[in-house]
């Protein structure tokens, strides 16, 4: 395999972007990433998207977005893995360059969630669950998280209030991210007063779904040099995707998040690193319980102990294992099928030393973990400053 580096990154603000269309939103991120890569021309475009087929009634995004961006004649298609579509598209780009199939691949994650309104949104989101046996009985994404949180509280006796540490941390980190949806801190008291969404899960346990697009241009170190790129290059050291059962009820141990466990293990093995060696962890916090289970699955805490990491400052920017450094999905906003690409962009910002007030000192290695549903699919990547 060839070495693969990130030549350019781009992202849009995350939020309710009523006045911009799916194609133009994607183009903003593509344009920024290409400019960052000094105009390097990609041979392929891989799109991470989850909902456009429902919310925008649009399929064949590869052609639409490449066409709109003026990338005529490239290969282009969508990689879909629910909320892990961004991670899947990034892996596709990585494999295309690593294998020598192309010299430069553009990856764009884009979501136009607000094209649907009201209960149609919940119904659209439900398409990533088992349609016949989960969505059909009225389960929602938040409901899945609620089921897991209820079981977790029962099984491990964790204090309910402990989950507040994750949204509080995410919001604190989002304050300094100009692309974030919520640039304001919240406190534990606000968290505890929030209304229930899928009890015991409350409004602040759930990252707000939003519009957004992020793009990454991948190439070889040689091509990057030829293009005259001056910013530091970030190398993709490990990449892994793993599935679990689609439906939560089919798992012998739903709190295990096995797909996340194996994705992290395999990505680290591929990169020849141990999870403990990374300087930051851009993980999935679509729901606070997913952050807790993700930490446990990645091996950073024992089963039933993940919540404790939020209690002692370990996860803050200056802590032992900084997570959600630019606000995560809770603070930055959750652009669903684009979230996995945002994670890569944010990790690259950290490794390039461009994270501003949120810079993790001396960051050289980052781990990302993008989940589809309750870790029904998981994509992990290890990135390193070159």
């Amino acid at each position: 395999m060839r070495e693969v580096v990130i030549a350019g990154i781009g992202q849009t603000r995350v939020g309710e972007l009523w006045d911009i269309s799916l194609r133009s939103l994607a183009y903003q991120a593509i344009k920024a990433a290409r400019r960052d890569a000094n105009g390097l021309m990609p041979d392929a475009l891989y799109v991470g998207n989850y909902l456009a087929i429902v919310t925008s009634h649009q399929s064949n995004l590869g052609t639409l977005l490449a066409d709109n961006a003026g990338l005529t004649g490239v290969e282009a298609f969508t990689c879909e893995a629910g909320q892990a579509s961004g991670g899947a598209a990034f892996q596709m780009g990585f494999m295309a360059v690593a294998s020598g199939y192309v010299d430069a691949a553009l990856v764009v994650g884009v979501e136009k969630y607000t094209d649907a309104i009201g209960s149609e949104q919940e119904a659209a989101l439900a398409i990533s669950m088992d349609a016949d046996y989960e969505a059909m009985v009225g389960l929602t994404l938040a409901g899945q998280a609620g089921l897991l949180m209820q079981r977790y509280l029962h099984q491990y006796g964790a204090p309910r209030s402990a989950f507040g540490a994750f949204p509080v941390l995410a919001h604190a980190n989002a304050v300094n991210n100009p692309f974030a949806m919520y640039r304001r801190a919240i406190d534990q008291q606000t968290y505890e007063k929030a209304e229930p969404v899928a009890d015991p899960l409350n409004l602040y346990d759930q990252a707000s779904y939003a519009d957004g697009a992020a793009a990454v241009l991948l190439t070889t170190p040689e091509k990057a040099q030829e293009a005259g790129i001056r910013h530091p290059l970030v190398r993709v050291r490990g990449s892994a995707g793993v599935i679990d059962t689609l439906a939560l009820h089919d798992r012998p141990d739903p709190l295990a998040f096995d797909a996340a466990r194996y994705a992290v293990q395999r990505a680290c093995e591929m990169g020849g690193v141990l999870p403990g060696e990374v300087d930051l962890f851009e993980m999935d916090d679509a729901f606070s319980i997913y952050a807790v289970l993700g930490l446990e699955a990645a091996g950073f805490a024992e089963r039933g102990e993940g919540w404790r990491l939020g209690q002692n400052g370990d996860l803050r920017l200056n802590g032992r294992l900084p997570i959600l450094t630019m606000g995560g999905s809770k603070g930055r906003g959750n652009p669903l099928g684009a979230a996995g690409v945002y994670q890569i962009v944010e990790a690259a910002q950290q490794l390039r030393g461009e994270a501003g007030a949120n810079q993790v000192t001396g960051a050289r290695m980052a781990l990302t973990l993008n989940l589809g549903g309750p870790a029904s699919s998981a994509f992990a990547h290890v990135l390193e400053k070159r």
């Binding site: 209960s119 088992d130 009985v137 389960l139 609620g146 897991l148 209820q150 899928a198 739903p254």
Partner: protein, 135 residues
């Protein structure tokens, strides 16, 4: 309208018809093409008793389209006495009465309409606290 899709699943929905693996005798619900226990093809039908226990539950207040009329409602993971776990709504129970481990039994109820009130009514399994009566 998605009539064929709902019609095809009526046996599962109305009466918890699943499968028993002809190779390892594992009981399977919802039905699958491949037995999760032994990896062989699973095709022999088996009707579950409908008795089980709540493994976990959540009270859904933000309902998706098609479920607004009955919100808020409780969705549970129910472990059937034969082993498999099924996702289903609980019915005939107050939110604060539900707890993990609570014995429940299957009833056939209205799940939702297909599309709007002009579409077919979809019936299927829900679970309620076991009604023992004077038996």
């Amino acid at each position: 309208m998605e009539i064929p899709r709902h019609w095809r699943l009526k046996k599962q929905r109305y009466s918890l018809q699943g499968e028993i693996c002809p190779h390892c005798e594992g009981k399977i619900f919802p039905p699958r093409d491949v037995c999760p226990h032994c990896g062989n093809d699973a095709r022999t039908t088996f009707t579950f008793s409908g008795r089980g226990k709540v493994y976990s539950f959540t009270h859904v207040t933000e309902a998706p389209a098609g479920f607004e009329e009955t919100a808020p409602y409780t969705v549970a993971l129910v472990q059937l006495e034969e082993g498999p776990v099924v996702t289903a709504q609980l019915t005939d129970v107050e939110a604060d009465e539900v707890e993990i481990g609570m014995p429940v039994e299957m009833v056939t109820r209205k799940i939702r309409s297909d599309g709007n009130e002009r579409g077919i009514i979809i019936y299927g399994y829900k679970f309620r606290p076991v009604l023992d009566g004077a038996r």
